[in-house]
């Protein structure tokens, strides 16, 4: 499983990454987490707002910080 957090580095994007990492640590499963800051790649996912979260290639959330329970639900 892999999770990508898309965001150029604004405060909310860092918050999003932190929550994803926490949720994954809580779930105790092996997940590749990558922070994508490159605008070209971000735009390639078709998102128009950051932060966004991509789980196994599927965009799950756009323009907002996820809640921990969201991330938990994606991990299942």
């Amino acid at each position: 499983m892999e999770i990508k957090v898309l965001g150029p580095g604004c405060a909310k994007c860092q918050q999003a990454e932190k929550i994803v990492r926490e949720a994954v640590a809580d779930a105790g499963i092996d997940v590749d987490i990558e922070k994508v800051t490159d605008m070209m790649k971000i735009a390639g996912y078709g998102v128009m707002a950051t932060p966004a979260v991509v789980v196994d290639g599927e965009v799950k959330l756009v323009g907002k910080v996820p809640k921990k329970q969201d991330v938990m639900a994606w991990l299942k």
């Binding site: 078709g46 998102v47 965009v59 809640k67």
Partner: protein, 371 residues
Amino acid sequence: MNNAQDKTDCGSTSQAAAATIDQFPKPDRSPLIKYVAGIAVLIVAWWLIYRQLEPFAAFFTGALSHWAGFAPEGHLASAIAFFVFETPKVLMLLTLVVFGVGIVRSFFTPERTRAILAGKRESVGNVLAALLGIVTPFCSCSAVPLFLGFVTTGVPLGVTFSFLISAPMVNEIALVLLYGLFGWKIAAIYMGTGLMIAMVAGWVIGRLKMERHLEEWVYQIQAGNAGIDDSPKDWGARIRYGFEAVRDIVGKVWLYVVLGIAVGAGIHGYVPEGLMASFMGKSAWWSVPASVLVGVPMYSNAAGIIPIVQALLEKGAALGTVLAFMMSVIALSLPEAIILRKVLKPRLIGTFIGVVAVGILLVGYVFNYFV
């Protein structure tokens, strides 16, 4: 850079909470009627408190001057009365409006706005884009992905710029604060001229055919539609979205509001009446370009700048000059130019800033000399 991207009027976490709630539907134990009743009670309480603010400020200042031994009619008393009245007033107005606009915004997403704008003819597109800029949730740290999402899916460049100009400049925070402090006429003038600048500047940029001044990689990406629509669907979710917007936006801007009012209070109490008239009054023709030059590199959200605007107007600065200053601070900023540099070549950024600045100048002169 981080700081620059973290503009204070971003409303994005508010969306998060509302969307989260939507994704995990709860049993419907709070019907609409309960929400409406609850909100009605809150609004009545709001109104009762709001009406008491001015008498309270007068009473508080009087009591304080008596206790601390300064003149109740002096500079200090004047500054304190201004601060004690304006701070809760502006914060309360802000809360009410951010809530209302949060509910309106739950009906608009960038995806929906793009669907409306895609393939529109330029003139019609410019008008629509400027209007949609008021109600679409927008945060300037998302300016680049939004720009790409628009331009690569058939929204003309000029129409995209109309949106990008209007979205930060003509916003609910600016309008409500102007309405609260100066009345509906100045709020309407600001909204009308702001929309006009967004429409015309976008149209001009479209006419200049500057598509080749986008960075090359813009044309290589396939910005598709991520295809998720998790905006609030029912009234319960919309109302929660409104409350989240209040927590998020007011939680972020309150400090700027308080600082702005403190500066305004200093000017109100200590700067002599009419001082601004000599160098920001109608007779000083150069004051309009000067305030645009000062305003462009500055960045502040509307909440922070309005108390300063109030103090300037009160001390005799001309309306056009003050409007020009306010618009250039809110609409054009160095941080945004730096962010947009990732997709725009310098000439297009220069044109964008130049065209908008000329629009602002014209607004300033029109109000100074014809109104």
